[in-house]
């Protein structure tokens, strides 16, 4: 079977103009522009199977968008191979473009001054979707995303969240098999973020479409993606299950307890992070966690006990720090 997405030794180097400060440098750059090579993506290898939902993580400027642009055919790789369903994206073949879609949280393709439904119609014509297929898909999207009241309003009258729902819908009218979602939840409130996440999950389950998603919100990634790819300074640092990321990059667990006796002495057990009267939390190395827990339960009168990994944000941050 052909992988949905394949990248092999992908590199992208940009020539960026550089100029010094001040008017003299500005005048000089009018005539002679100096440029500098910036490696945005270095030797990226990845393979995504059809139907997978993969989270693509990295700080700003890590190379996420550059990689997505190479996979959607907007950028030509400097070297290396990019393939989507066996097509070379940069060739921008008709059959390839019919099967993908691109959603960018910071930009919209809906036309500003006219009702949403007319922008939908424009995409229907561009993608040559038949009327019957169009109506069927539209009905489904309207039901899933709750668009009923929005379709006949001009886009400029919609809230950010409403607009994003419509942006996602317009991008799916041709039933793409591959979704590139670049920060689709950016700027949305928590409820709307959750709704979009639920929608993406449902869409993936119903259609078997492959999804590559970038987001700065870990909640998106935790809810949607079993697998994550972490990219930093243009290179892939981690590619695997989210659980494994947690195991690999966290050496500690947080063990919290609730005691029946508020006066009990907890010194000598391990690194104590917080202590109130009945509550306490320890930071314990992973491999000692089991022994530590049984020791606590044996020695003390414990009402409640939880073992947790640190928040995913902290883990990701530690990944980036380790590579810096």
């Amino acid at each position: 079977m052909v992988a949905a997405v394949l990248a092999d030794g992908l590199h992208k180097t940009y020539q960026v103009p550089v100029r010094g400060a001040g008017i003299q440098a500005a005048l000089k750059s009018l005539v002679h522009r100096e440029t500098e090579a910036v490696q945005a993506v270095k030797n990226v290898n990845l393979e995504i199977a059809e139907g997978e939902v993969v989270g693509f993580l990295g700080p700003n400027g890590a190379g996420k968008t550059t990689t997505i642009k190479m996979l959607t055919g907007l950028l030509h790789p400097t070297t290396g191979i990019a393939q989507v369903f066996g097509y070379q994206p940069a060739k921008r073949e008709h059959q390839f473009l019919m099967q993908i879609t691109l959603v960018m949280g910071q930009r919209n393709q809906l036309l500003w001054d006219i009702p949403v439904i007319d922008s939908f119609d424009r995409n229907r014509v561009i993608y040559k979707v038949s009327k019957t297929d169009y109506e069927k898909t539209l009905d489904e999207l309207v039901a899933l995303l709750d668009l009923d009241s929005l379709l006949h309003k001009p886009v400029r009258n919609l809230s950010l969240g409403e607009r994003m729902k419509c942006e996602i819908a317009v991008a799916l009218l041709h039933r793409p098999r591959m979704l590139f979602l670049d920060e689709p939840t950016i700027g949305l409130d928590v409820t709307m973020q959750r709704k979009l996440r639920e929608f993406i999950t449902q869409y993936n389950q119903q259609t078997g479409a492959t999804v590559l998603l970038t987001s700065h919100y870990m909640a998106d990634v935790q809810a949607l993606c079993k697998r994550v790819i972490v990219i930093h300074h243009g290179s892939i640092l981690f590619d695997g299950y989210l659980d494994h990321l947690v195991q690999r990059f966290t050496a500690h667990k947080t063990i919290s307890i609730k005691l029946s006796d508020p006066l009990v002495d907890l010194s000598g057990y391990g690194e104590l992070i917080t202590r109130s009267e009945e509550q306490a939390a320890f930071r314990i190395p992973n491999r000692e966690a089991a022994n530590f827990t049984s020791r606590l339960l044996r020695d003390l009168d414990i009402v409640d006990l939880t073992v947790e990994d640190p928040p995913i944000e902290e883990i990701i941050e530690s990944v980036f720090n380790q590579s810096a």
């Binding site: 055919g73 907007l74 059959q95 960018m104 910071q106 930009r107 006219i114 014509v125 561009i126 993608y127």
Partner: protein, 262 residues
Amino acid sequence: MIEFFRLANVFLRIGAMNEMAYRANFWIQTFESLLSMATALATIAIVFNQTDSLGGWQRAELISLLGVYFLVLGTINLVVSPSLGRFMEEVVDGRLDFTLTKPADAQLLVSISEFRIWKILDVILGLIVLSMGLLTKAEATSFASALVFGITLLAAGAIVYSFWIILATLAFWFIRIENITMIFWSMYTAGRWPVTIYPPWLKWILTLLVPVAFAVTVPAQALSGRLTFNTLMSAVLLAVALVFISRWFWKLGVKSYSGASA
């Protein structure tokens, strides 16, 4: 070609809806079109109060030329200028990414992406004035002249469009170049008069650098039967060459496009 009409149809409809939303524009446009046409006609009237011919052109012929001028102007303002203007904006803000990921010819999509339908008034006025010029002329226009006129008008359309595409394509490299279309507009105004009446240096600029001569003067010459075979052939050859060159240039531009940084 079918693709063109299919897409043009939907964009035209959307353009119409867009403009209907702002009704006042229709009246402003009507006023503007009538006023500029009246001014132009009055200027011709003043000139011909002093003389019977201007560089060999009769009054009726100049009126036809003015008709062609408005016809071409209206067509540019109807779709070419708004669409390519929008394209240049999309290069700056990165929305072009959406256009380039669509399964349709990108050059076609950007060329017809926006219609200012009220500009059709200039086209209609141009046609009326053109017919007026032809009707008041001493001798009737022959079928052959009309046919040649049709050919030169098609060539004019192709030349002007290709010229605009080449200017707009520069946005792929220089990003902010909204002002570049001024190169065209500053020269186009000179097209109200036949380029043959201008001093040689200006005539060359209007023929070779900015193709105003081929856009307006040549079709008008065809109507008055003063077009030489050589000029006709150069108009057709230039049109064909520019269509291919602009297409090649556009593809080069798309290749080097890197997208606005996210």
